[in-house]
């Protein structure tokens, strides 16, 4: 056993990982069945913060991620957009990452145009586009949008957009939602927006798994709501679509269950990881016992 594990080609492990992820994807994709999801306190808090907003409240959605992390953050972006649209909130989209505007377009195409076609661009939602500068952008727009955003992403003058007449800075927003894959992202929003203006700005976020442990210290004072990785996305999806579909007796469309679906491969792949860690430890202790340095 020791010799077999010690000399195992790493490519067999890659193949096992491929199978442990692909087989659940195919089974879930064909059967439409997924594992049950039980929301945790943090996801429920995140959901309730949006749920408690009133119709017409202003929400800034900063999509600070790119296709590399779309697998984790795409489901969150979809669910956040759906929740805001269903609550009839005014949505201001922006991005601190160059490919962020494409992520915003995806959310608008897949959620707003399909399920909320009555929403009008410029009155119910607006895409402010990308600005480079990371934390510099946050530091500026936290006091004045016009300093950086002279137009929206389509080139329309900022102040000629009806819904922009109500805002001059991030402090005018009732909520900031940040979907973050790294820097600039949630940490910078906490540092340069929430911390200097704790009474004016409320921030909730969805982040990648790599970032989540770094953001937990900000909970709950600086960051009252956080969705960590695909698990957070799946829990939030469950809350949102239970409320707006299942409670109404409707079937949830497949495009709104990406997070829940991806928890299946997670389970099998994590079991494989645990087995590999046990195997690694077995080799370690076996070598120790045999006196191999």
């Amino acid at each position: 056993m020791y010799d077999f594990l010690k000399n195992l080609d790493r490519r067999w492990i890659f193949l096992l990982m491929f199978l442990s992820v692909s087989i659940p994807i195919i089974i879930i994709g064909i059967t439409g069945q997924s594992f049950p999801e039980k929301p945790t306190a943090l996801s429920i808090t995140t959901f309730e913060i949006i749920e408690n907003l009133k119709e017409g409240d202003k929400v800034l959605l900063s999509f600070d991620f790119d296709p590399a992390s779309e697998g984790e953050l795409g489901p969150m972006a979809t669910a956040f957009t759906y929740h805001c649209a269903a609550k009839k909130l005014k949505m201001y989209f922006m991005a601190l990452w160059p490919v962020g505007p494409q992520m915003v377009d995806n959310a608008i195409e897949n959620v707003i145009k399909k399920d909320f076609p009555h929403l009008v661009y410029g009155e119910d939602y607006v895409n402010l586009g990308f600005k480079s500068g990371g934390e510099g952008v946050i530091k500026v727009i936290v006091t004045d949008f016009m300093e950086l955003y002279s137009t929206d992403a389509r080139g329309t003058p900022f102040k000629s957009i009806p819904m922009n007449k109500e805002i001059s800075s991030v402090q005018d927003m009732d909520l900031v939602i940040n979907i973050s894959a790294g820097s600039a992202g949630t940490k910078e929003w906490v540092q340069y927006a929430v911390t200097p203006y704790p009474d004016e700005i409320t921030l909730i976020a969805g982040c990648t798994g790599v970032q989540a442990p770094l953001l937990y210290p900000y909970i709950p004072e600086q960051l009252p709501g956080l969705l960590g990785a695909i698990k957070g996305a799946a829990e939030y999806e469950k809350l949102v679509f239970d409320r707006y579909y299942r409670d109404e007796g409707l079937e949830v469309p497949g495009r709104y269950q990406e997070g829940v679906r991806r928890m299946g491969p997670q389970l099998v792949a994590h079991l494989l990881m645990i087995l590999l860690i046990i195997a690694g430890n077995y080799i370690f202790f076996a070598e120790k016992k045999r006196g191999i340095p």
Binding site: S132, I230, R262, A269
Partner: protein, 329 residues
């Protein structure tokens, strides 16, 4: 040809044949679009109204100047099939060669990159080079059109930028933006054969301001706020009753913070009580690293899952979770 090469050649040929059969018999990997016509009428001075919108009902559009064009929106294969069944000569939905080509390129590049797991190879190198080149070019173009044009030249000469690049741009010229223009030129001076030292001045400015901004951010948000957030009651009462679980969590948090700080306190040798406390701190740090590793694993598996979903769904049409090809919600 050695045995390994022969096996891989056979695998590749069989795979390619399978892909061709799948694409020909099931249309797998193809993308369809919906052709959308737009028509706007000029109703007032510089005001255009969509003739199909409710706003158009407020105006008499007879004899007004009109402009029309058509665009493509991604459509479901199911919609395309249904439209074809209803009217075989329909032109609303059509096959998109360019988008289909995009799906196949994306699938091929995914496989090229994943092939590195087997061993380094020319396909991986090719895909890697393309990604690096495209990313660099994309950053440059986005930076030029989203920052330099609107936020630098658009501030210095709004009317000029308005006339050829951004018709919506308004405002007065702000000559203060000559400062970043000059600093930008000085920064690019490092590309010149002589006088590279000139770029050190704007670089010093960038480093100085960035350090200043970050220092304040970290002191305020991470240092002072975290101290304040750690000052929490050890005994939590709610409506007069003692909350055991909340109190226990707060106690764990305080012990974790204090012991981890002691571990990083190197002015006293880690012996005796200090040593034991530092050891507890190590345990807390290890648990933190373990949680971070667990989250990282979750993230990486999610990334693999979406690529495989793309291959099985958009490319091979093995699964259809969003019901894009079969009847459903």
């Amino acid at each position: 040809m050695d045995r390994q090469k022969l096996i891989w050649t056979v695998v590749c040929v069989v795979g390619a044949l399978g892909l061709i059969i799948n694409a020909v018999t099931r249309d797998a990997g193809s993308v369809y679009v919906k052709n959308v016509d737009h028509e706007f009428a000029l109703v007032e001075d510089e005001k255009w109204v969509d003739v199909s919108s409710d706003d158009a009902l407020d105006y008499d559009l007879e004899g007004k100047e009109r402009i029309n064009w058509s665009s493509e929106e991604q459509a479901n294969y199911r919609d395309y099939q249904e439209a074809n069944k209803a009217k075989p000569s329909q032109s609303k939905y059509s096959f998109s060669l360019s988008r289909t080509f995009g799906v196949w390129i994306a699938a091929m590049f995914t496989l090229f990159i994943m092939s590195f797991l087997f061993k380094d190879n020319p396909f991986y190198k090719f895909a890697e080079s393309v990604v690096v080149g495209v990313s660099a070019a994309y950053w440059m173009v986005v930076g030029f059109w989203d920052v330099i044009i609107p936020n630098l030249f658009g501030k210095l000469s709004p009317s000029f930028i308005n006339s050829w690049a951004m018709p919506g741009l308004e405002g007065e010229a702000d000559l203060l933006y000559l400062v970043p223009l000059v600093l930008g030129i000085m920064l690019l001076w490092r590309l010149a054969p002589s006088g590279t030292w000139i770029s050190r001045w704007p670089l010093a400015f960038i480093i100085g301001t960035t350090a200043g901004i970050r220092l304040i951010g970290f002191i305020h948000a991470d240092f002072l706020s975290q101290i304040r957030n750690s000052i929490i009651p050890l005994a939590v009462f709610e409506n007069g009753s003692f909350m055991f679980w909340d109190s226990f969590l707060n106690l764990i948090l305080i012990i974790g913070v204090l012991t981890a700080i002691v571990y990083f306190f190197f002015s006293i040798e880690h012996k005796g009580l200090v040593g034991k406390t530092a050891r507890v701190g190590i345990w807390f740090l290890m648990i933190t690293f373990g949680a971070a590793f667990g989250y990282t694993v979750m993230g990486r598996i999610a990334l693999l899952a979406i690529r495989l979903e793309f291959l099985f769904d958009d490319w091979l049409w093995i699964i259809d979770p969003a019901m894009n090809r079969i009847a459903g919600t």
